[in-house]
């Protein structure tokens, strides 16, 4: 075993003494930084360049031109009234120095006040003006509650629950307090639940069990987070929604980089055997008192090790960058999900690790293909070319066959390497199943490895 590890160490040393290897790794690191930057930091940087209030003055001036527009009877047109509303809105914002982050702006309260001052009753206008002037949160929630109940009396209890919670917990409206968003999600979920329950009772065809289920889960998760004070849920990032301060969005985005790790593995796997032949060094390798299959295995293991090390490097670098960019307040939150009607906590790191491993399936299969071709024909160019093509064009081939309604395409190796998609049933094949995919992958691996073995161990040099 120690001897085998020394062989792997030899291969490792050789790969890392090549300039080509370092160029690939530098590109990988650069891509990692690029990705972390664009999925994490870019939003913040650009929002600091771009601020809404720079448009307010020009909007005000534009709308002022049309406030006196009248129709044939001499009454102000609707458009003139809209302009008056907008003029009142922008003037208030400018005159009172309201910032774009102010809750009164974000919730639309200032706009409601402007609307009331132009089209509403005097009483309502005065009430809203008082709320805005005094920045009275409680009065705002009460006013909004009245509006909601007036619009949908059936959901009064739900609206009341939300308003009570917000008032009793001193939640600032807008998006500065995370609880505001969660309460809103829970409220909407409760409404959806009530709606679906009614449809069920009416035995309506519009009833949707999955929407009901989803709303139940949202409600449970929201209530759990409110109760336990969990600011954000890392699980959202895994489901393609933005989560909290973006830490987990950046982490999940790093999965894309495994494709690049795959390219590196294919280049190394496709040349690690062929290069020995083209340089003539194979003779020195094979006259060592080591059986050929051990030498071949050490090369294979070294290739996979480099891929694994590159993946770990991508993970660690992304982790550090994400910490730096987002502050990392979310880094140690558990991922919340609902299982069997109960909220369960899990480690988002474990979940990410699982996704890394699933993404690694394709990398390993394609690297093994490169390795097999390389040891069969002793040409790194051919091995890398074939495997790169399969790696990058495989999905396209499957998609084309799929468009032609050729169901057999689901038995192709290219259609069976994305275990995550097969699990989520997003591959487009109705009959796709994970066990079949695993069998197909294993069979291909056996063929590839036997080819590599035959090409290397039995070949006379």
């Amino acid at each position: 075993m120690a001897k085998f590890l020394r062989l792997v160490g030899n291969e490792w040393k050789k790969q890392f003494s090549r300039v080509a290897t370092w160029i690939m790794l530098v590109l990988l690191v650069a891509s990692t930084i690029f990705f972390a930057f664009f999925s994490g930091l870019s939003g913040r940087i650009f929002s600091s360049f771009y601020s809404e209030d720079i448009f307010w003055q020009s909007e005000l001036e534009y709308n002022e031109q049309y406030v006196n527009e009248v129709d044939k009877e001499g009454n102000p047109t609707d458009y003139a009234l809209d302009c008056q509303v907008r003029v009142a809105f922008y003037r208030y914002l400018i005159d009172h120095g309201v910032s774009p982050e102010d809750w009164r702006y974000i919730t639309g309260l200032v706009m409601d006040m402007a609307e009331a001052s132009v089209r509403g009753t005097q009483e309502e206008a005065a009430r809203l003006t008082a709320i805005v002037e005094q920045q009275n949160v409680r009065a705002y929630y009460e006013w909004r509650l009245e509006q909601q109940i007036a619009a949908e009396p059936a959901y009064e209890a739900i609206y009341r629950w939300a308003a009570d919670y917000l008032i009793s917990h001193n939640v600032t409206p807008g998006n500065s307090d995370w609880r505001s968003g969660v309460v809103s999600d829970v409220m909407n979920a409760k409404i959806e639940i009530a709606k679906q329950e009614r449809l069920l009772k009416e035995e309506s065809a519009d009833y949707s069990g999955s929407r009901y289920e989803k709303a139940r889960n949202t409600e449970l998760l929201g209530l759990y987070r409110l109760e336990h004070g969990q600011k954000s849920n890392p699980a959202d990032a895994f489901d393609g929604r933005s989560s909290g301060d973006g830490f987990w969005d950046v982490m999940v985005s790093s999965l894309t980089l495994i494709t690049l790790v795959g390219l590196i593995c294919i280049v190394i796997g496709g040349s690690i055997v062929a290069n020995e032949f083209s340089a003539g060094t194979i003779k020195f390798l094979l006259i060592a008192p080591v059986k050929r299959w051990k030498i071949l295995t050490s090369k294979y293991v070294a290739t996979l090790f480099i891929g694994a090390a590159a993946s770990v490097a991508v993970f660690l670098l992304t982790f550090l960058l994400s910490l730096a960019f987002t502050g990392g307040a979310d880094a140690f939150l558990p991922a919340l999900s609902v299982k069997g009607g109960v909220v369960v906590k899990s480690s988002p790191y474990l979940r990410l690790l699982g996704l890394y491993l699933l993404a690694g399936v394709k990398v390993v299969v394609m690297t093994t293909l490169a390795f097999a071709v390389s040891s069969l024909v002793h040409s790194s160019a051919l091995a890398i070319g074939i495997s790169m093509f399969a790696y990058l064009a495989g999905n396209l081939i499957v998609t084309i066959l799929q468009l032609m309604n050729l169901d057999f395409a689901r038995y192709l190796i290219f259609a069976n390497m994305d275990f995550a998609a097969i699990l989520q049933k997003t591959t487009g094949f109705v009959h796709h199943s994970l066990p079949v995919a695993i069998v197909i992958v294993v069979l291909h691996m056996i063929v590839f490895l036997l080819t590599a073995w035959d090409g290397f161990v039995r070949r006379e040099v």
Binding site: R6, K13, S17, A279, F284, P289, V290, K291, E460, V461
Partner: protein, 315 residues
Amino acid sequence: MEAILKIEHLSKTLGSREILHDISFETYGGEVFGFLGPNGAGKTTLIKVVVGLLTLDTGKVTIAGKDLAKDFEAALANLGAIVENPEFYKFLSGYDNLLQFANMRGGVEKERIDEVVRMVGLENRIREKVGRYSLGMRQRLGVAQAILHRPKLLVLDEPTNGLDPAGIKDLRDVLKNLAHKEGVAVMVSSHLMSEMELMCDRVGVIANGVLRSVHPIEELVSAAGIGQEEFVFSVDDPEKGAEVLSHAFETEVKPNEEGKLDLTFPKEEAQTSLARANRILIESGISLYTVSKKENRRLEDVFIELTRGEGKQIG
């Protein structure tokens, strides 16, 4: 004496051509065994079988008592070799290349690497990348890797290729030392008889895949008439000179194409005969310009004789 390398009835066919036919011989610790044959005779193929690069069809190869086919790793653990050109990883330093070999074999200490590097005279350049080495330096590095793990059997394929005369002499000394002082069995192949004579204790001659003969080098040397010494006389009147010398030594002497006279004397009487020939020429009034001793060209003749008439040679 125990045989280090034992080859029994070895045959090898590549494609449809039989490269080696029923070859058997042994080499022993403490001797340099030369493997002599023209290009294409099968030398490299035989060496590739011995070092495990090729498999044998029939027969048996044993290294230090271990059967190569059955006990591959144990057999090769006692072998050091250079096959064809010494190729190394150009992007690694000489030292790192040696480390690669040491790692594959195990049991090689850092001190041993330094010692071997000194032995082949590479200590000043060992940290440089091999890509910048000359062929001669690569040959030296090749020898270094071959002896790194103190093998009992050392196999070198055309080891003097690309070496300058000084390098050839150094290599000869290193190999002789290893054989005679450290008891290593050294096997070298070559197509140059003169090189073999200086280096080897025993020579096996191969032609067209058949081992013609195995002789101690002395036997070959005497077969080549090395027991006699041949002299070339350059005189002003070759015709007359030939006549008097033929008469005096009771043998037929004729001027050769260059107008010089060749004479052969038994080794032990060479000096007195030479003096006598001088005297006779001078007494006969013939001016003698030069007398020179002829090199053993006939060793090559023996070689050609041993390998001749076996069809075309393949390069």
